[in-house]
Subunit: 316 residues, 2 copies
Amino acid sequence: MAPSTVSRAFSRPGRVNAQTAARIQAVAAELGYRANPQARALSTTRTMMLAVVLADVTNPAFFDLVRGAGAAATEAGYTLVLAETQESAERERDVLEATAARVDGIVLAGSRSPDAAIHQVNKVVPVVAVNRDVRGLPSVVVDLEHGARVTVEHLHGLGHREVMYLAGPEASWPDGMRWRSLRQVAREHGMRVRRVGPYEPTVQGGVRAGEQWLDGRRRGAAAVGYNDLMAIGFIRAVTRAGLKVPDDVSVVGFDNTSSAELITPELTTVAAPMRDVGRIAATNVIALARGATSTRGEPVVVPTRLVERESTAPPA
Amino acid sequence: MAPSTVSRAFSRPGRVNAQTAARIQAVAAELGYRANPQARALSTTRTMMLAVVLADVTNPAFFDLVRGAGAAATEAGYTLVLAETQESAERERDVLEATAARVDGIVLAGSRSPDAAIHQVNKVVPVVAVNRDVRGLPSVVVDLEHGARVTVEHLHGLGHREVMYLAGPEASWPDGMRWRSLRQVAREHGMRVRRVGPYEPTVQGGVRAGEQWLDGRRRGAAAVGYNDLMAIGFIRAVTRAGLKVPDDVSVVGFDNTSSAELITPELTTVAAPMRDVGRIAATNVIALARGATSTRGEPVVVPTRLVERESTAPPA
DNA sequence: CTGAAAGCGCTAACAG
DNA sequence: CTGTTAGCGCTTTCAG
């Protein structure tokens, strides 16, 4: 696992210096000598490092992604680092610029950059996008259309005839995806659908959404949050105001984060195998780093499912 | 903010080539040329990168730490990356080895390594330890003695006469600190005190602690978790078994993570200004990276306080 | 003030 | 098979 400390030249199977080599290795280890990875990288053009750059390291939606990518990286002998863009296209640019030439591959999750910027980075180092379809770039996305479909059908089945989408960041690919899918499926079922926001994709943002909704609300509504965090914030705001979830309003989230089963009522939410997503993305980026040539442009799609818990019920 | 793209030589205030330099800059920008940071680092010995290496990126206890460190890093023109050791001393060694020579400083949080290993890394790059007092190394720690004191006094004031500590990782510095402080203060107040575990410092670990406690429990107990995650798991296990928190058992956590106010009942927990901790640690490591010489060996201590919520009450 | 050359620490391709 | 050299892409020093 641990790469040889001293230049591989010393470990070449030699006859005469076999023991000499061993001694050098021993002394080097004793002295705590480490090869300078930067110098090594300068000549090999390989850093054996991978980066996951994501919008928000505190968003539990990314946890399993990181875990999966980390496992794949470790197995392949790579070290994984994370860099955060803080939901800002500008910081994303800076971070990508700073990390691109220092790693062998980048898994880009929750990007807020235009496609062109991503392609630019991809010229320096292989990039695999997560939950975003960038033309000509390998990517792995979760089946949000299906997630939206089962969500709407679940709500429709409960008797709801109107769904409200709590929008997240406008530059977010999943946001657009979720909204468009929701709208289409809702229409297919003859449901009314509207969108409010955008809000920050955080608990705080959800609280704000809830507070705004409280003014001029109608009974028997169903809200679908951009993600679990927002759904949770929404529930908190509504609950604090004395309403009941799901009696007064049903709430659905996206991501199935660990927080979803922490709150009361437990959150109904759309789940995806993010660990697999991370694993696939990392594996692909490693393959590219090793010289594989990107095949088709079709994104890898992983399935989603609705986890029905307590936050949804028939309208009052 | 963004460092010049082309070698600084081109931006030297020259007379004749002032416009030439400008043109080169322009063309370089157009072509998307970026200086290779590795090559630059090789000659300057500066990478303008900082690393926060921590035990578990999914532990909310580290969120504010990361935020504070990130803010300090950005302000100083550094890019921050995170690396995770997954609660493993071995992975910690690998991660430190891989990152040490690639960054200008390391903030080490939740280390599971022996002091000697940390000193070894510190020979390569400045290290600031968080929540761990490493002899001769700058560090910033939260005042856990005080946290333990107010916890015990709170419990004592409620009428509890026995406190049980749900232990976390044995190699964890805060674990030892919390336990010793708890024990001492409990004794001062004539309370009985015992320790169970160790458990994994996760919700899962807390669930296990709760399940074990359920066998052979005594009424009117008070449990103090190694961290919020464990306390939450404990509550879940106990609640699932039909008991009530805090009626049947009071529970206190450490860290005051965002999850603490998500669960029902809301968790009483020890809070610390982790954002400040991150900020201080990063600021110090940057100073060292810039050539400052470490002053005294005394750790910086930040205060703690008890956030009383719903998970504690008088014994039944 | 400008342009050339040395060197950062390594690896890889080269002669011996 | 071993030892030497060139060179990765930058910065910085040193002549011109």
